[in-house]
């Protein structure tokens, strides 16, 4: 929290500002930090009042598990976006991770988990090297790896014709499908990863570098932060997260579905942005991304429950919602700068 606030106010005020933010600035900052959470609470209350089926254990459990995979992807994306970058390849890496996980599961759970992590992490590392060392635009590099990863995926599934199945008695399948205290194992894994991610971002030196690079790259370099290494690391991390999410998803579905993940990069970016992380870099939170994912999933769930509406409306609402959040964020950000 300290890192964010220091950087946030440091950017918004001049050097000779008296100590402590003004009231208006504090309200703006609060709205920016917790706006998504407030919206989520309102949405959940409205949904549970409108639909008796919303607050059932089944519905909540399904929502939690299906949120978990997107949340893991969004976790890596949060790091990338805080450095001021973007990763468009995560949807493809998610699908690739799923297929590799399902294929690898015949050689045991360890292979099923390590293979996707290694391959997707390696592609993420290449992304990072091209962005940090060769100084290519993140947008274009990850666009290229989006295509390349989908190409690799098609190549190992014989142009999408082969679907690898996971033996549903294997430990890997149990990892995806079992429940612990009534909550799916993938959800527990996700929660653990988020706690870990938040600690790393807030308390570790690496986390400080991530904020510093996103805040002002030149200043970070002058400060002695390893800019290139930090950037490379966040893209590798994002690749690992996407691969892991794909593998867990394959364990849950007991098969590596090749058509998954297209458009997931957009969902993940939306979730991160809705959670209050600024696309300009230097400012953001892990917890916000989780709230963003839950908010997107609640909206989808509500739309599904309104039987007459189909998934097309989901897209309309999600898009409109993203636009509204970004408008609000930009407006609040401008207000903060002016104050």
């Amino acid at each position: 929290m300290t890192a964010v606030q220091t950087i946030g106010t440091g950017r918004s005020t001049g050097g000779d500002e008296p100590a402590g933010p003004t009231r208006g600035e504090r309200i703006s900052a609060l709205a920016q930090q917790h706006g998504a959470l407030v919206t989520l609470v309102v949405a959940v209350i409205a949904a549970s009042l409108s639909f008796g089926t919303f607050l059932t254990t089944d519905n909540l459990g399904n929502m939690a598990v299906s949120s978990a995979f997107l949340a893991v992807v969004a976790l890596g994306m949060t790091f990338v976006i805080i450095t001021g970058g973007i990763d468009l390849s995560v949807g493809s890496l998610f699908a690739l991770g799923g297929v590799l996980g399902a294929w690898g599961s015949r050689y045991g759970t360890l292979v099923a988990l390590l293979l996707p992590l290694a391959v997707c992490g390696l592609i993420g590392l290449v992304n990072g090297l091209l962005i940090a060392r060769a100084r290519l635009a993140p947008f274009i590099v990850t666009l290229a790896s989006l295509l390349a990863a989908r190409g690799i995926l098609l190549a190992i599934t014989h142009e999408g014709a082969t679907t690898y199945l996971v033996d549903d008695t294997s430990f890997f399948a149990h990892l995806g499908q079992d429940k612990l205290l009534g909550v799916g194992v993938p959800v527990w894994i996700t929660v653990a990863l988020f706690v870990l991610g938040a600690v790393v971002l807030r308390r570790s030196r690496f986390g400080q570098y991530v904020y510093a690079v996103g805040g002002n790259e030149d200043a970070a370099a002058l400060m002695g932060a390893p800019v290139a290494r930090t950037k490379t690391a966040v893209y590798a991390l994002s690749g690992v997260c996407a691969g892991l999410a794909g593998a867990l998803n394959a364990a849950w579905l007991v098969s590596g579905v090749t058509i998954l993940g297209s458009g997931m990069e957009l969902e993940a970016i939306s979730a991160v942005v809705i959670g209050g992380t600024l696309l300009t870099g230097g400012f953001g939170f892990i917890s916000g991304s989780l709230v963003g994912v839950l908010l997107l999933k609640v909206i989808q769930n509500v739309i599904n429950q309104i039987g007459s509406l189909d998934s097309a409306y989901q897209q309309v609402v999600s898009g409109a919602f993203l636009a509204a959040v970004v408008i609000a964020q930009t407006w609040l950000g401008r207000r903060r700068r002016m104050l």
């Binding site: 973007i86 091209l130 060769a134 100084r135 290519l136 635009a137 947008f139 274009i140 590099v141 666009l143 290229a144 790896s145 989006l146 295509l147 390349a148 989908r150 190409g151 690799i152 995926l153 098609l154 190549a155 142009e159 957009l266 970016i269 939306s270 942005v273 696309l279 300009t280 189909d310 998934s311 097309a312 409306y313 989901q314 897209q315 309309v316 609402v317 999600s318 898009g319 409109a320 993203l322 636009a323 970004v326 408008i327 930009t330 407006w331 401008r334």
Partner: protein, 320 residues
């Protein structure tokens, strides 16, 4: 002597890189054509040229709009969804005649363009995010209007899709005409100059008193209208409206064509000739790999490599 010699070699190297960046895409197209003439049977047939040209036309039209957006230091991710929207609108309004259908599709493109442009110009949202929102919402609206694939039975659309003049398909003529119009706009009009000035440096353009907001909105309207045109033409070629898959991943192909064609992502410069060559290069690459029985997966990997190489070449120049 060493000093002079060193300076000379680095100058030569710079010039070589610049030449490569400027004309590399044309060289690529030439190499692919020569390789195909040598190794692909039946490549040199009118029929084959026709097929390739008809396939490249919609991509090129979308890429022209994308070039304008990228030249203004933006990007338009919503183009694929605009194509889907326009194909839905065509199906819905074809009963009133081809012209009415075309006009409604174009109005759809204008509406999306105004929305994109307003978010970017007035509210200050980053182009990636603004057009991302409309990309998600746009396809949703297209699917609400027309939930599934619908065949088009209309003689006007049929002739638009498969008719020709002196053996040149309408689609190709329209794409070529639009490319000329956009090239003229970029080079010779006030709008074009203002667009490039804004892409070069928006603060400077603002200080110089250029109508930045108006120009930016117009840029995204142009992109939307061109994408809507492409949607109509693609539906005419397929003789069907398919809002689920029409235009999906089109934003990637269009960005690739523009970037491979030598337009820098940092804005301020637009190369329409390069964009045309870029679109042709990608189409030829795909066609060549498929002709030689390499699976579609390889084309995606090849496309990725081409993108990275093109951007890497551009980087060397951008650094100076």
């Amino acid at each position: 002597m060493t000093d002079l010699a060193l300076r000379r070699t680095s100058y030569d190297r710079d010039r070589l890189l610049r030449l490569l960046q400027e004309y590399g895409v044309y060289a690529g197209v030439a190499v692919l054509i020569l390789a195909n003439i040598a190794f692909t049977p039946h490549f040199l047939s009118a029929e084959n040229f026709r097929t390739q040209a008809v396939q490249v036309a919609p991509v090129l039209i979308v890429a022209l709009g994308m070039a304008l957006a990228i030249g203004s230091e933006g990007v338009d991710l919503s183009v694929g969804s605009v194509m889907a929207l326009s194909t839905s609108l065509v199906s819905l309004y074809l009963g009133y005649g081809v012209w009415i259908a075309l006009i409604t599709a174009v109005i759809g493109g204008i509406v999306v363009g105004v929305a994109n442009g307003s978010l970017i110009a007035f509210i200050g949202v980053q182009p990636i995010v603004a057009t991302l929102a409309l990309m998600v919402a746009g396809r949703g609206v297209a699917l609400v209007l027309l939930p599934q694939l619908k065949d088009i039975h209309d003689p006007g659309m049929a002739s638009l899709g498969s008719g020709d003049v002196l053996g040149i398909p309408y689609l190709v003529l329209i794409a070529a005409a639009l490319a000329l119009v956009v090239a003229f706009t970029v080079r010779r009009t006030t709008f074009g100059r203002q667009l490039l000035a804004i892409g070069d440096s928006r603060p400077a353009a603002q200080l110089a008193g250029l109508p930045v907001r108006r120009v930016l909105i117009l840029v995204y309207v142009c992109s939307g209208v061109l994408a809507a045109f492409a949607g109509v033409l693609a539906s005419a070629r397929l003789q069907a409206s398919d809002p689920t898959s029409l235009g999906s991943l089109m934003e990637l192909s269009a960005i690739t064509a523009v970037v491979v064609g030598g337009t820098p992502l940092s804005g301020g410069r637009i190369r329409i000739g390069g964009t045309v060559a870029g679109a042709v290069l990608i189409q030829l690459l795909t066609a060549t790999l498929i002709k030689h029985d390499l699976p579609p997966s390889w084309t995606q990997i090849a496309q990725a490599v081409v993108i990275v190489l093109a951007v890497y070449a551009a980087r060397e120049r951008g650094k100076r």
